[in-house]
Symmetry: C2
Subunit: 434 residues, 2 copies
Amino acid sequence: MRLSAYFLPTLKENPTEAQIVSHRLMLRAGMIRQTAAGIYTWLPLGWRVLQKVEQIVREEQDRAGAQELLMPTIQAAELWKESGRYDDYGKEMLRITDRHDREMLFGPTNEEMITAIFRDNVKSYRELPKILYHIQWKFRDEVRPRFGVMRGREFLMKDAYSFDLDPAAARRSYNRMFIAYMKTFARMGLKAIPMRADTGPIGGDLSHEFHILAETGESAVFVHRDFIESDWQNRDVDYDGDLQPLVDELTGKYAVTEEKHDPAAAAALGDALVSARGIEVGHIFNFGTKYSKAMNAVVVGPGGEPVTVEMGSYGVGVSRLVGALIEAFHDDAGIIWPEAVAPFKVGLINLKKNEPHCDAACETLYRALGGEVLYDDRDERAGVKFADMDLIGLPWQIIVGPKGIARGIVELKSRKTGERQELPLEAVIERFRA
Amino acid sequence: MRLSAYFLPTLKENPTEAQIVSHRLMLRAGMIRQTAAGIYTWLPLGWRVLQKVEQIVREEQDRAGAQELLMPTIQAAELWKESGRYDDYGKEMLRITDRHDREMLFGPTNEEMITAIFRDNVKSYRELPKILYHIQWKFRDEVRPRFGVMRGREFLMKDAYSFDLDPAAARRSYNRMFIAYMKTFARMGLKAIPMRADTGPIGGDLSHEFHILAETGESAVFVHRDFIESDWQNRDVDYDGDLQPLVDELTGKYAVTEEKHDPAAAAALGDALVSARGIEVGHIFNFGTKYSKAMNAVVVGPGGEPVTVEMGSYGVGVSRLVGALIEAFHDDAGIIWPEAVAPFKVGLINLKKNEPHCDAACETLYRALGGEVLYDDRDERAGVKFADMDLIGLPWQIIVGPKGIARGIVELKSRKTGERQELPLEAVIERFRA
């Protein structure tokens, strides 16, 4: 993409409405714009990141054996009356009356709807287990939306739901999602730490939150040092094998949010205790028959008997992750994207637009590098170009100036380390060829 | 995907609520389920088709120079009061009041929102032209939703918006979208015919509808035979060149819906006139300054003067296209997917599950063919398997039976032609290798 044509409205000044760094940087880098309180448009640069994050979530769900479908945003209130949550949910639920005066709502989550779909379409134990997921926009009418996409009202969530014949099988589904989450966050360059959690309004008795560590995190967390230093995610996982030992290992060490912190237990860890800040990016629940019983999701069991299915639900805040990634990866100059989720892999800076050799070298690079390059072909000062490129945080910058190109040399800069090296044009092409 | 594990609830009987063939077949093939009037869940098989259709639309928008972003579903009513459409829109608009008693709505279209985004972020003629698009769920509260996804309430639309400095440039943007639409539909195997159209509530004076021909189409259409027999879409198009001659050629021949039909003009065509049935799958508008004037979308022109930008909007019904494709491609046994949008390219039928040679051959094929194969590994009668595979309409069926496999032979069947051929196992693998 050529920056001269790209819709990338960067801002030089910090927007006053943004209280946290990810919100500030998403506005400044032209990733999002607010269109109503807590509701955002994702501009092209932000949309590219959101799509990459979404695709990683999708691939890891698929790998773990979950099947994707898509439920609608608008739901009938009757479903929520069946589970008893319609009245409980309170003002966070966006309630709607349609033209025929039917009570509807914008889904804040989908336990009820997926249970109804399952109930109407699955009849036999032979069709179990099933893990079904979708990646869909949700709405929670927060009383004070803030922190940009970290606590917006309309947000993109991946929510998966498991259906099993008995608690042991349900635990296997839970373990699959547990491991899939660890892998998902690791692929984005994030160190996610599973923490025992309350089940809250979702229900059930087994639940973990996944927090990533960031200095600007919203929660105080206390974790065993091994979580930070270990590199477990490089291990191969066989999803059809027994995942319990790995889950036990990953849940066997101290890792809690402030609410669950036990100073006495923590003190016993001595130097192994790390206190840090965390951002919740995922939450998984095993809630047994809470919804299947209320909504009559029953299959015929192996002996012909009716069995109320065991369920769990598994959420990742996909749009929230984009903010969380920036909280984890930034410096004073701007964002520092991990390669897996960077909107473009390479930023190409032409220091002397309209100088024939610079232009020719840049065109050669632009064509060779394909869709993962953003070419700053604007007629702007070098300082403006450097600042914008650091702000939007592409992992690599290729800098083409008249002196270097006279020798056939361009500069390659790592956004993360700031390290620069001079390389022949051909070597850079070879390094990044599409 | 193994069918024994796949969430594919096919139906043997025709659902009584479905009046048209695409609705019937989408329900029977386990592609969708209704969750409220005119609101559907896309089950895994349907979701795969919807994603493929969406991806073709996206690629052709990108190729034509449009840039993707994502606007939210929920909009503030104020935007629509600025354009004057809030009161005009009537009961089709799903109106919502949030917890702070602010008037909101579920977007039925996005002219107002994109104009506000443009106005707030683009200041100079140097940033033009711009074509921005998104693929997002819309809601229109139809009084009588029907025909499944063809006239639902929550539906997926691709809507693009162009911004230009003057009418000549706006016409160039219009032409880009016009050609992009022809290519989009052609890639799906559809013959789309552009027809002069009324602009209706969107406004403006230049508009085309794109109709595909299907015996079960909703509208009577009258078109010059050349549209049906020509094969223009195989021509290369240079989007940076002058598209007007091609657009003139494609709009120079008779093609109208019933409302615009002129029997006298049509009669002059003689044998060249074809009367047929059409389904609208796209609609494009050039509406000048209707929204930019009302909402003050002004840039600084080349001479420093303020210029109210020229706009157009361009819609494709993405979810509707899935229904339209089935209307165009089906027979008595079920759907006949064109390869580009088929949920899987190949269906693999094991005629004798648990027979070691059949099982082994199927496993070999399943592993070799990758993600585009659906393997019917169920312990079911051959008749059930054939019927289900014809119903869901994958383009190719590979049939593995004990007699053939004893000779190393499998059967390859084309869903479209019904043609069958016997081939060595290795030849089939070579033919479809992922």
